[in-house]
């Protein structure tokens, strides 16, 4: 079976006055039908731009786009605007971070759903209206018939995101891209929205790409996770494996910076030191090296390739440390050691650079 979406060596560079911003720099991944992929990374890691590019929404005059994005075998990067238009909202839908600013403030919620339906389906206004009401009900909006005529500002935050989800799903897409769908919501509502996306995925049999900076959000719902850093994927694995046997120092940092129920409660959270690099002047070698506690001199020159982990071919990582060293470092970290201690223990005798 061919994958639903296959992205190959995607590059998105923006020419700006300050220089070329390499927002996405060689990203590849595949997504099978009905699966959920999480793309995790900090702000500016390129996770949103990657998906916006797949949808053709980053086509600006200063954008240079390379690579392939095969959706059901068709390269969306080469599709005409009209072809893309018929894919968007129909085969691939997208929901965004802030549902208030993502809904048009001057149109009724129902009317915005009807517009989405009529963009792709040949339905009368009355039929489209019925379908919109059906989907508003499906996403758990109480009394959808009355709510149809409300404006977005008359909805609560959670309701707005439900309405956005309903609007994204009215044409029963095969792929839903959720770009930080819970970031702007209360914690209790976050869980409801994630649960809703999980349920609808099963009911409608669609695949989901969940973009987030929060590993905690994707832990429950995803099948696979790709971790992005500075425009590249640095690690990808099945969700379970990523949480239990992470290979990349950046992933370790992410995992140690979120609270976990399966860890002792008094264990301190460890932030990742430093800041994400400038995408105009990427550090040479491994782009994570300025923030990596386990950096060696050579890592500043050699670029790591995304390669399979020895005993798990679907788990891939872009790190220059030897597999054995990485395993021991993670064991130490997992045992509660600080990164400095772990380094001293595992990489003993090596010069600290």
């Amino acid at each position: 079976m061919s994958p639903l979406l296959e992205v190959r060596d995607l590059r998105v560079h923006f020419d700006t006055e300050d220089g070329v911003v390499k927002a996405v720099d060689g990203v590849s991944f595949t997504l099978e039908k009905g699966k959920v992929l999480g793309i995790v990374g900090e702000s500016g890691s390129g996770k949103s731009v990657t998906m916006l590019t797949v949808m053709g929404l980053s086509r600006a005059s200063n954008a240079r786009i390379g690579g392939e994005a095969l959706f059901e075998g068709r390269n969306l990067l080469e599709a005409s605007n009209e072809e893309l238009r018929s894919v968007r909202g129909n085969d691939i839908s997208m929901i965004f971070q802030d549902p208030l600013s993502s809904l048009h403030p001057f149109y009724k919620v129902g009317a915005q759903l009807v517009e989405a339906i009529q963009a792709h389906q040949n339905l009368s206004r009355a039929q489209a209206r019925e379908r919109a009401i059906e989907f508003l009900g499906l996403v758990g909006i109480p009394d959808p018939r009355a709510r149809f005529d409300n404006y977005p500002h008359e909805f609560s935050g959670g309701m707005r995101q439900r309405a956005m989800i309903a609007m994204a799903l009215v044409n029963e897409p095969q792929l839903l891209i959720a770009d930080e769908p819970t970031t702007a919501l209360d914690v209790t509502v976050q869980a409801q929205i994630l649960e809703l996306i999980g349920r609808l995925k099963d009911e409608l049999g669609m695949a989901v790409i969940m973009i987030t900076h929060d590993l905690g959000v994707v832990a429950e719902v995803t099948d696979d996770i790709a971790v992005m850093y500075a425009g590249r994927i640095v690690e990808e694995a099945a969700t379970d494996e990523l949480f239990h046997a992470p290979e990349h120092p950046y992933t370790w940092g992410l995992l140690q910076s979120i609270p976990r129920l399966d860890r002792p409660r008094d264990e301190p959270l460890v932030p990742i030191p430093g800041r994400p690099p400038s995408l105009i002047n990427l550090p040479g070698g491994c782009s994570f090296h300025p923030r990596c506690p386990y950096v060696r001199e050579a890592h500043r020159r050699i670029e790591p390739k995304l390669a399979p982990v020895p005993d798990s071919p679907k788990h891939r990582v872009a790190c220059l440390l030897e597999s054995e060293t990485r395993k021991r470092l993670w064991q130490d970290l997992n045992a509660g050691k600080e990164p400095v201690e772990a380094r001293a223990d595992v990489m003993e005798g090596e010069e600290v650079t």
Binding site: M55, L57, N81, R85, S86, V87, R88, G89, N90, S93, M94, F96, D98, S101, S102, L103, H104, P105, F106, Y107, E115, A116, A119, H120, Y151, H153, M164, M167, A168
Partner: protein
């Protein structure tokens, strides 16, 4: 909503009261000439001037004159009589109103059509040749004084003094009730001349608004829904970007209904603006008061209408 409108209307009355008082005081504190002497004609004898002064009530203290005037306005909607020719101010203003309305509304149509079209295309094709040329043109349009533009237009196109005798010249205005076709042709040049600066301003306003709006999240949503770019711009972009245009248009039309003094003067159109201009030259207080009150009335009403319209344009606004 109803209480809001009533409250606003009461404010309109208070405001007009202030406007009339200030106009009155300016006239008394800084008199341009003695109205009675002007009325008396050339080389008047003092007795005649005194007699006229008494007839017009100018010999009474200023506050008595003001109270008398306001009584007339409030109790009988009587705006008094011209010092100059005894014509009723009210009659005179209503006679002049159609010309001003023709000029203002026609110009508004011209500048809205041009401003919105140019602003939209410039915003969508930002940095294109069209954008650069039209925005430079807009800068010229905003900077050019309307009387200069009016004289230039007459010099070029008027059928009496023009280089290309295409349009009727100055003083060709005919009321629509007399001859609609001539009314229309006589107003074409004044409409465009008056509209030029407004069109330029509106094009720039809409352009910058639309550029801002097009980077909003809900525009991205509209594109993500698979709408055509045309629909994204027209239904989602302009719908939001147009709101400040509505405000500006309401206020500008309100101001112009009070008289477009310069344009009316250049093209010799007998409107409120000309009336105001002439009455100031003649120190004709009742006529000045009348035109000022009318102008103020249009402006405050335009404000009110714009605020009410806003509630319809933006569903988030409630009164």
């Amino acid at each position: 909503m109803t209480t809001y409108i009533i409250r606003r209307l009461l404010w309109v009355i208070v405001l007009l009261f202030f406007v009339s008082f200030i106009t009155f005081m300016i006239f008394y504190l800084f008199p341009s000439a003695d109205p009675a002497a002007l009325r008396a004609g050339r080389q008047p004898n003092p007795e005649l001037v005194e007699q006229i002064r008494h007839q017009l009530g100018l010999d009474k203290p200023w506050y008595v004159q003001y109270v008398d005037y306001m009584k007339g306005v409030f109790l009988h909607f009587d705006l008094g009589y011209s010092y100059q020719n005894n014509i009723s101010v009210k009659t005179q203003i209503f006679q002049r109103l159609p010309a001003t309305i023709s000029l203002a509304l026609g110009a508004a149509v011209v500048w809205l059509v041009i401003g919105i079209a140019v602003g939209t295309i410039s915003a969508v094709r930002r940095r294109s040749l069209f954008d650069r040329v039209s925005m430079t043109g807009a800068l010229v349009g905003i900077s050019a004084p309307v009387y200069w533009l009016g004289l230039l237009a007459l010099y070029l196109f008027a059928n009496d003094i023009g280089r290309f005798k295409i349009f009727p010249g100055s003083g060709s205005y005919v009321p629509i009730s007399q001859d609609p076709a001539k009314w229309f042709t006589s107003l074409i040049v004044p409409w465009f001349v008056l509209a030029a600066a407004f069109a330029a301003f509106y094009a720039r306003l809409l352009r910058s608004n639309l550029i801002d709006v097009m980077s909003e999240d809900y525009i991205r949503t509209a594109r993500a829904k698979g709408l055509s770019e045309r629909r994204v711009v027209l239904r989602h972009g302009i719908r939001s970007a147009i709101t400040p245009i509505v405000t500006a248009a309401g206020l500008d039309i309100g101001i112009l209904l009070g008289g477009a003094i310069l344009t009316e003067s250049v093209f010799n159109i007998p409107g409120i603006g000309r009336l105001a201009f002439d009455s100031i030259q003649n120190s004709d207080l009742p006529m000045i008061q009348g035109t000022v009150l009318f102008g103020a009335f249009f402006i405050v009403m335009a404000n009110l209408i714009v605020d009410i319209l806003y509630a319809f344009i933006d569903p988030r606004v409630r009164y």
